[in-house]
Symmetry: C2
Subunit: 272 residues, 2 copies
Amino acid sequence: FDFTLMVVGESGLGKSTLINSLFLADFYNDRKLPTVSDLIKKTTSIQQHTIEIEERGVKLRLTVVDTPGFGDSINCEESWKTCVDYIDDQFHQYFQAESGLNRKHIQDGRVHCCLYFIPSYGRGLRQLDIQSLKTLQTRVNIIPVIGKSDILTPTEVRTLKDSILEDLKSNHIQIYQFPDCDEEEDEEFKKQDRELKAAIPFAVASSDTFVEVAGKRFRGRVYPWGIVEVENPNHSDFVKLRTMLIQSHMHDLKETTQELHYENFRARAIAQ
Amino acid sequence: FDFTLMVVGESGLGKSTLINSLFLADFYNDRKLPTVSDLIKKTTSIQQHTIEIEERGVKLRLTVVDTPGFGDSINCEESWKTCVDYIDDQFHQYFQAESGLNRKHIQDGRVHCCLYFIPSYGRGLRQLDIQSLKTLQTRVNIIPVIGKSDILTPTEVRTLKDSILEDLKSNHIQIYQFPDCDEEEDEEFKKQDRELKAAIPFAVASSDTFVEVAGKRFRGRVYPWGIVEVENPNHSDFVKLRTMLIQSHMHDLKETTQELHYENFRARAIAQ
Ligand SMILES: Nc1nc2c(ncn2[C@@H]2O[C@H](COP(=O)(O)OP(=O)(O)O)[C@@H](O)[C@H]2O)c(=O)[nH]1
Ligand SMILES: Nc1nc2c(ncn2[C@@H]2O[C@H](COP(=O)(O)OP(=O)(O)O)[C@@H](O)[C@H]2O)c(=O)[nH]1
């Protein structure tokens, strides 16, 4: 089971901490931070890491595609170009492999999901976000995430989420729609599904350090005024995101990539 | 006593909340947020608010100069130009008034201090900060401030402060040097002065809402995991900044503006 996840957002939004926490792995020990010359050249680069993990008995070859330099320069007009080129490149490679003789063993490097990080210090989507999302929406399943949400009180989280949803709507940006749950599911399951969907965009606080309190050991952030518990649903949407992304919908994310985004690519490619 | 304070930094860094808390006033009820066209045109604009307050028996006419749009566009190459033009403009007006006949009643609109906000989600100074600070340092007293510092644990605050101080040093950026305290001061006062200076850049968390706990009423931010107390020195450098800026050094900030920055301006103006 191949799965490719692209992570987009400027440095400092908590992306690598979240990815490491989601997959309980350390993807970033050879991390390349953007150099001063990258920033002056205003380039976004691509960094790929692949690991094999077992998730609920399923062997998963997970590739995380990082985009160092995105949104970091003084002039961010080209930030999303590298992301878009990478996605199209993977579609192109798959297209060629599919039209080849050895169709049985095609490696699927297509990007199945893009976690788009929105800063928690803003008031909604910025110009950079609107322009990036507009170009990405026709190519990949987008799941918007608010990183470092522990800077916001619960009221501020709700205000920011509403503002982002409003901006997405008024700019006609289509994000990934989680599939409806089966009609036969029980009421409890349906209720949980509604709550998960109502939490989008997910406001996550995460941590790569463990805290021990009263014999309990958990991921958290220790402040002088209290401790943020990453897996506490009142403190962070971390568990909701993990449930939606890993437990329930990886299969649908792959299918939608094949049936919607890849078909869009083929239509564009054939039309040329 | 005229005092002009310029506040620089992109939107969402907590600038107006800090200013309102420092001076116990509401400077921003007619606030103009940057419009979409401002952001597309990548313009920084200037907004001035003047209020009369009494601080420790002294009547103070305080002008706060805001810079909406700074750092907010997709291309921030021109962000600091508006700030620099405003400062030079004020110097120019003073220069002309000084060379005029009615020298006795010159209104001093020169910028006496610039609070430069550095984001708390970064790793130090960004290109935008380095370029802005390089042009501002020869024109105004700069006090660097880390806004919304409650996103950082105490260790992260120390790491970020060190990283900023290192970046300032390696880029030869001269920030305002608080004057040495008198030799005759007692050891306690000197110790407090050293602690204040050691806290620069100030990492502030502030709030315009009051919280009531156990009969005590104070400015704070209520999170599910705890309450940030703005005036608690273990939670925020707010009190340190207020002490340095308002209580102790407004006079020296004015003097340094006159004797250093204004003289630099006159030298540049005469040389042309
Ligand atoms: N307040 C807060 N800080 C975080 C969170 N996640 C990560 N950090 C801290 O932010 C810094 C940068 O995080 P990182 O994951 O490397 O950000 P990235 O550049 O987006 O990959 C590190 O010091 C982290 O400990 C979070 O959810 N909340
Ligand atoms: N976490 C945190 N939030 C803050 C702080 N100061 C202000 N805020 C919140 O951040 C938002 C924007 O603050 P504001 O002062 O308007 O930012 P400005 O755009 O830089 O002037 C508001 O919702 C404030 O309540 C702070 O110190 N910490």
